[in-house]
C-alpha cells in the first residue's frame, strides 16, 4: 500500500479513536447547569476547574488521591528492591535450586486476584489491617514482587558472572556487591518495573473495593467508581471531571515514559 494511503487510513482511524477523549473533555467542562444529556457533542462553557474542585470535594477524591500516591510510590519501590534481591540470589549467588525458588515467587502472579480476596478480607478484618494504609501497601507490594523478580532475574542473567567475581576479589561483601554494583547497573530495568507497577497500582479497583472503605484509605479508582454510582445521574459533568482527574496522572506518565513501558513489557515477556 502506498505511504499516502497508509497515512490517511491511520489518521482517520486515529481521529475516530480520539472522539471519546473529545467527548470527555467537552462534557467534563460543562457546568452542572449547562450540562444536558441531549447535546453531548457541542461545547457550552468552560467550568472544568470548578467541576474538578467539586469532584474532589464529593466522595473524598482528594484524600483518596493522596493515599493512592503513597501506595503507587512505596509499594513498587519495595517490590523492585525485593525482586532485585531475589534475582541477585538466583543469578549472581547461584542459589541452590534457584529455578525452583524463582518459579515459587513467579507463581504468585499467575492466578486471578479472586483467589486471594476473601482470605485477605477475612484476615485483614481479624488483625485490624482492614481499611488501613499499611494493609493496602502490604498487598500492593506482594502482588508487585513476582513480576519484579521475573524481570530482574532476566536482567541479571545478561550480566557476565566475571563482574561478580571481580568484585569478590576486590574484597566486597555480597551486600555491597548487590547495592553498589548490581543495582546501579540495573537502574533502567528498575525504573521500567517501577513505572509499570505504579500505573497498575494507581489503576487498581478490586483490592481497594474489598480491603478498604474510608475516604482516607480507599484508592482513587475505587472512589471514582463509588462517585459514579452515587452522582452519575444528577451530576454527570462532575463525575466526568472526576474521571479526567483520576486518569490524567497515569496517561501523562505513560505518554512521557513510553520507552520505559515498552522496555518493561519487553523485559517481562522474553
Amino acid at each position: 500500500m502506498s505511504r499516502v494511503i497508509r497515512t490517511a487510513v491511520l489518521a482517520v482511524l486515529g481521529l475516530f479513536w480520539l472522539l471519546p477523549v473529545y467527548l470527555l473533555l467537552v462534557n467534563a467542562a460543562k457546568s452542572p447547569e449547562a450540562f444536558t444529556t441531549k447535546e453531548s457533542w457541542l461545547p457550552t462553557d468552560f467550568s472544568l476547574f470548578g467541576n474538578i474542585a467539586e469532584a474532589m470535594r464529593l466522595s473524598g477524591l482528594a484524600e483518596s488521591a493522596a493515599s493512592t500516591l503513597l501506595y503507587a510510590v512505596v509499594s513498587p519501590a519495595i517490590a523492585v528492591l525485593v525482586g532485585a534481591a531475589a534475582g541477585f540470589a538466583i543469578v549472581a549467588l547461584r542459589l541452590k535450586h534457584g529455578f525452583a525458588w524463582f518459579v515459587a515467587i513467579f507463581g504468585g502472579t499467575v492466578f486471578p486476584l479472586q483467589m486471594i480476596l476473601l482470605p485477605l478480607f477475612d484476615a485483614y478484618s481479624r488483625t485490624g489491617l482492614f481499611d488501613t494504609q499499611a494493609g493496602m501497601i502490604a498487598v500492593y507490594t506482594a502482588i508487585s514482587i513476582p513480576f519484579s523478580a521475573f524481570v530482574m532475574r532476566n536482567f541479571f542473567s545478561g550480566i557476565a558472572h566475571n563482574v561478580f567475581e571481580a568484585a569478590v576479589i576486590d574484597g566486597a561483601s555480597t551486600w555491597r556487591i548487590f547495592a553498589r554494583v548490581y543495582l546501579p547497573m540495573a537502574s533502567s530495568a528498575l525504573v521500567a518495573i517501577f513505572i509499570l507497577q505504579a500505573t497498575f497500582i494507581w489503576n487498581d479497583f478490586l483490592l481497594g473495593l474489598v480491603l478498604s472503605q474510608s475516604d482516607t484509605v480507599r484508592p482513587i479508582v475505587t472512589s471514582l467508581a463509588g462517585m459514579q454510582s452515587t452522582y452519575g445521574g444528577a451530576q454527570m459533568s462532575t463525575v466526568l471531571a472526576g474521571g479526567l482527574l483520576v486518569s490524567l496522572p497515569t496517561v501523562v506518565l505513560f505518554l512521557f515514559t513510553q520507552k520505559f513501558f515498552a522496555r518493561g513489557l519487553a523485559l517481562g515477556q522474553y
Partner: protein
C-alpha cells in the same frame, strides 16, 4: 538452563560459600509472596469445600458448592459471557493492534500516528467505564450521532444482552489496541533486514510478504500477545462492574463478577471460593500457552 552439571567445581565451591547469603537475599520475596498470596490461595481452596458465611467455623461439605455452581443457570451464563470476552478481545484489540502496527511499520511519522491509540492505554477500567457509560447511555452521545445520520431506532446499548457485553468488549478494545500495536511494532522492528530485502527483490509485496516472512517471524510474539489477552480477559471485572454491574439481572456477569457477588454481596463464602477455584483452573490452563514461551530455555538460570 544451567544445571548443577554444567557448573565447574570452583563454581560449586563458590556457591556453597554463598549459600546463607543467597537464602538471605531471596527470603524477603519468598516470605511476602508465601504469606500474602499462597496462604490465602490455599485457604480459598479449602473454603470452596465448606459452607461458611464468615460467622462461626467453616463446615466441610465436600464438592457440594461445585455441584451447586454448575446447576446454576446464572453461572452458566457467566461462563458464556466470559468466553465471549475471551473471543472478542482476541478478535478486536489484538487484530486491530496488529493492523495498526503493520500500517505504521517503516512509515514516516509512524510514532505520531500511533499516539491516539496509546492515549487510552493507561486509563483504569473504571475510567474507561465512566467515559463509555456516558457515551452509550440512552439518548447519549452515540445515539445523538446516529440520529444525525437518520438512525433513530437505536438499541439500548447497555441493557440488551448480549449486546451490552459486545459494546463493553468494544470499549475495552478502544483501550487495548494501542499496547498491542506497540508490542507488535517492537516485534516488527526486531525482524532482521536481510530476508526482507531478499523477499522484496523477489517481488514479494503486501499479503505475500506478510504471509511468507512477517507472520512466521512474528509468531513467537503473537503467542505471547494472545496468551496475555486470554488471561486478562478471563479476569475481566473492573469495566463490567463499572458499566453494568453485571446487569440487568445477571445478564452481563463475568466469572470474576459472579465470584465477587456470591462472596461479598451474598456472603456465600464457600460458593464464591468454588467459583474462584474454577476461574483459577481455567486461567492456569490458558497461562500455559504463554508461560511456555516466557520460561523458555534461553532465559534459564
Amino acid at each position: 538452563m544451567t544445571t548443577d552439571k554444567t557448573l565447574s567445581p570452583q563454581a560449586l565451591r563458590q556457591r556453597d560459600q554463598y549459600r546463607w547469603s543467597a537464602l538471605g537475599f531471596i527470603a524477603p520475596g519468598v516470605l511476602v509472596v508465601a504469606v500474602l498470596l499462597y496462604l490465602p490461595l490455599l485457604w480459598t481452596t479449602f473454603l470452596s469445600l465448606t459452607e461458611y458465611n464468615g460467622l462461626g467455623d467453616p463446615e466441610w461439605i465436600g464438592i457440594a458448592n461445585y455441584v451447586e455452581m454448575f446447576d446454576d443457570p446464572g453461572f452458566i451464563g457467566s461462563v458464556l459471557n466470559t468466553l465471549l470476552w475471551v473471543g472478542g478481545t482476541l478478535l478486536v484489540p489484538v487484530g486491530i493492534g496488529l493492523g495498526v502496527a503493520l500500517l505504521t511499520w517503516n512509515l514516516k511519522g509512524g510514532t505520531w500516528l500511533r499516539l491516539p491509540f496509546l492515549i487510552p492505554y493507561a486509563l483504569s477500567g473504571i475510567g474507561v467505564g465512566v467515559i463509555w457509560s456516558f457515551i452509550l447511555s440512552g439518548g447519549g452521545a452515540l445515539d445523538q450521532a446516529l440520529a444525525a445520520f437518520g438512525v433513530d431506532d437505536t438499541p439500548r446499548w447497555l441493557v440488551d444482552a448480549p449486546l451490552n457485553t459486545v459494546v463493553m468488549i468494544l470499549a475495552t478494545a478502544w483501550q487495548g489496541v494501542g499496547v498491542n500495536a506497540l508490542l507488535f511494532t517492537i516485534g516488527l522492528q526486531s525482524i532482521p533486514r536481510e530476508p526482507l530485502e531478499a523477499a522484496r527483490m523477489d517481488g514479494a509485496n503486501g499479503m505475500r510478504l506478510f504471509r511468507s516472512i512477517l507472520w512466521p517471524m512474528l509468531r513467537p510474539l503473537t503467542a505471547v500477545v494472545v496468551g496475555l489477552s486470554i488471561v486478562a480477559s478471563l479476569k475481566t471485572f473492573d469495566i463490567v462492574q463499572g458499566m453494568t454491574k453485571g446487569g440487568p439481572g445477571r445478564d452481563s456477569e463475568t466469572l470474576a463478577l459472579t465470584m465477587y457477588k456470591e462472596t461479598f454481596v451474598n456472603s456465600d463464602y464457600g460458593l464464591g471460593s468454588a467459583i474462584a477455584v474454577f476461574l483459577t483452573v481455567v486461567t492456569l490452563i490458558a497461562s500455559i500457552l504463554y508461560l511456555r514461551q516466557q520460561l523458555s530455555s534461553k532465559h534459564g538460570v
